[in-house]
């Protein structure tokens, strides 16, 4: 049998990051707003309990929630990006097989680990992540990714699990019971429309889907659904990079042909990676909320100054526009750039906080981008992609960008970027 897979998920990640540095927010409803304070993108459990929904426009949040001490936070991607990197670094001390899935989720592999002590190992992991970063996580362990997702949900929902739940074999009565009470729409990778069709056919739980005939599922639906059903039976069919839903982040990175300290070369590489990521973003019909740029030196050239640095900046609005993405990546690089002569080996651009293009109307009326602008941008991007598809990848590329942004994000409620900016330290208070 293959080694189990674990999904580690930070509980209410954005809200939890805010709480690490503002402990008075513990127990209070916390809501994080999208770029430009448009709509709700993250909620603490208390905010969920107040009936605040994902995607709810900020001005629709019921005023009476304020009486419960509701705390609104503008999204603070620099903080979230840094905290996410800390969680990743912590996970790496527990297994070498760590595969980030989104800003707050990672898959862990345990090849060669003793299965009998795996649950204890993961309790230790959970405790350590909380200890080192202040962030609560849940761990689901199972033979397949789809089952690990379910196990993770179970761990999160039931405090009795201590935040870690390991599925004991697929045929174990406990596993069967869990599958039986999981609505089909809650299974990883099954979208709303497919769920409705399945329900109409009488397949309304994970157990029913697991018992359906795989070949029939492929005929009636798709090979994706067939794989999901097989995964529910404990057969591993989903490998890295072919997750059933579109990837939640897109990373383009590459080592330089030879190490370089030339800013123009590196800028060019960042532009190319950003363009490339934007292309992949459009191909999967998603919009990105933030851009992370990473720079690193060659760790084996120990005689040279070492640097491994990254920063996450928000995009002006959820977008798939190459120009917006390249400009933000350039700004990020400018922020990372150090005046000392450091010889870099590799850079990367990652798009984060991806949303489905069809689910993004929520934010329209809050963004400074009008419908006209949006349509123009869509046309331009389509033309760009067509030209590059027809005449070769780099026929039309984005040239030099102004590094000073002419737009300013609205972020009325942003907390400090505590982990990435010296100059955001408020004045010292004597009491």
């Amino acid at each position: 049998m293959r080694a189990p897979i674990a999904l580690v998920d930070c509980n209410n990640f954005y809200a939890s990051c805010e709480r690490v540095f503002r402990p008075r927010l513990h127990g209070l409803p916390v809501v994080v707003l999208s770029n430009n304070d448009g709509c709700v993108i993250a909620r603490s459990q208390e905010a969920i309990d107040l009936g605040i929904t994902m995607g709810m426009p900020a001005h629709h949040i019921p005023p009476e929630t304020r009486r419960h001490g509701l705390e609104l936070c503008s999204s603070n991607y620099e903080l979230y990006g840094d905290m996410s990197a800390r969680v990743l670094a912590t996970l790496h001390t527990f297994t070498p097989l760590v595969e980030p899935y989104s800003i707050d989720e990672s898959w862990l592999g345990f090849e060669g680990f003793d299965t009998s002590t795996l649950a204890a190992h993961c309790h230790d992991l959970r405790h350590t992540v909380h200890r080192w970063t202040g962030l609560p996580v849940s761990v689901g362990i199972a033979p397949t990714r789809t089952l690990a997702k379910l196990a993770n949900r179970h761990a999160k929902k039931h405090p009795g699990t201590g935040g870690v739940f390991m599925l004991e074999g697929v045929h174990h009565p406990e596993t069967q019971a869990l599958l039986a009470r999981t609505p089909v729409g809650d299974i990883w990778g099954i979208g709303g429309r497919v769920a409705v069709r399945l329900q109409a056919l009488g397949i309304d739980t994970a157990l029913a889907l697991a018992q359906a005939q795989p070949s029939w599922l492929r005929q009636q639906f798709s090979v994706v659904l067939e794989r999901t059903a097989r995964e529910l039976c404990g057969i591993n069919c989903i490998e890295m990079n072919d997750a059933p839903d579109s990837r939640k982040m897109i990373m383009t990175s590459r080592s330089f042909g030879k190490v370089t300290s030339n800013r123009r070369d590196i800028e060019e590489a960042v532009r190319a990676h950003a363009s490339n990521s934007a292309l992949r973003l459009r191909a999967q019909r998603s919009l990105a909320g933030a851009v992370m740029v990473m720079l690193r030196t060659n760790p084996h050239m120990r005689h040279l100054s070492q640097d491994h640095t990254r920063i996450t900046l928000p995009l002006p609005w959820p977008t798939d526009n190459t120009f917006d993405i390249v400009r933000t990546a350039q700004n990020a690089l400018a922020r990372l750039w150090k005046p000392q002569r450091i010889v870099y080996q590799k850079c990367g651009v990652q798009l984060m906080d991806l949303v489905d293009i069809d689910g993004q109307q929520l934010d329209v009326f809050q963004t400074p981008q009008s419908n006209d602008e949006r349509q123009r941008s869509d046309h331009l991007m389509a033309t760009l992609d067509q030209l590059n598809a027809r005449f070769g990848r780099h026929t039309v590329t984005v040239g030099m960008q102004r590094s000073d942004a002419d737009w300013q994000l609205r972020c009325a409620y942003r907390s400090n970027r505590w982990t990435t900016r010296w100059d955001e330290l408020p004045g010292a208070r004597l009491t």
């Binding site: 200890r131 100054s305 640097d307």
Partner: protein, 150 residues
């Protein structure tokens, strides 16, 4: 009470900053003799390596207030930067950042010959017993960074 706000954590991978060892000639008295270190060249020290052995769990705070400047205090001044490690276990006598009633405070942990409590250098503030409802340790202060040239 020395008050900590505005925690500022370090990025996960602090950049090594090498500082060359002093290798210049040191002269003692009028006659002068060469320093024994004169021919010992090439070593470099890295403050991040020395001060932040665990970057993943180390965060930075700015101290605000004046209570720890008391003669028996830890000598922390307002404006000092505190390196705070969440990974290490707080021991008796450690300076810690603690969460007390939702606020981040700098305190000294004492538990020898007494129930565990958070003490202030300033006698105006009574010790806070650790078992009290809303009181927990956020992290242990490992280093203080103070700018002395204003």
């Amino acid at each position: 009470m020395l008050h900590v706000t505005s925690p500022q954590a370090l990025t996960v991978d602090p950049t090594p900053r090498s500082i060359p060892w002093a290798t210049c000639h040191v002269r003692a008295g009028i006659s002068g003799f060469p320093s024994p270190a004169q021919d010992y060249d090439g070593g470099r020290i890295d403050l991040n390596e020395a001060l932040i052995p665990r970057p993943t769990s180390t965060f930075m705070f700015t101290a605000e207030g004046d209570s720890m400047q008391a003669p028996d205090g830890a000598g922390i001044h307002g404006g000092d930067k505190l390196l705070v490690d969440r990974a290490i276990e707080a021991r008796h006598g450690d300076i810690v950042v603690a969460v007390v009633d939702g606020e981040l405070l700098v305190k000294e942990l004492r538990h020898q010959d007494c129930p565990p409590a958070l003490h202030s250098a300033n006698p105006r503030h009574a010790p806070i017993p650790m078992h009290s409802a809303d009181c927990q340790i956020w992290g242990v202060v490992t280093h203080i960074v103070r700018t002395v040239r204003r």
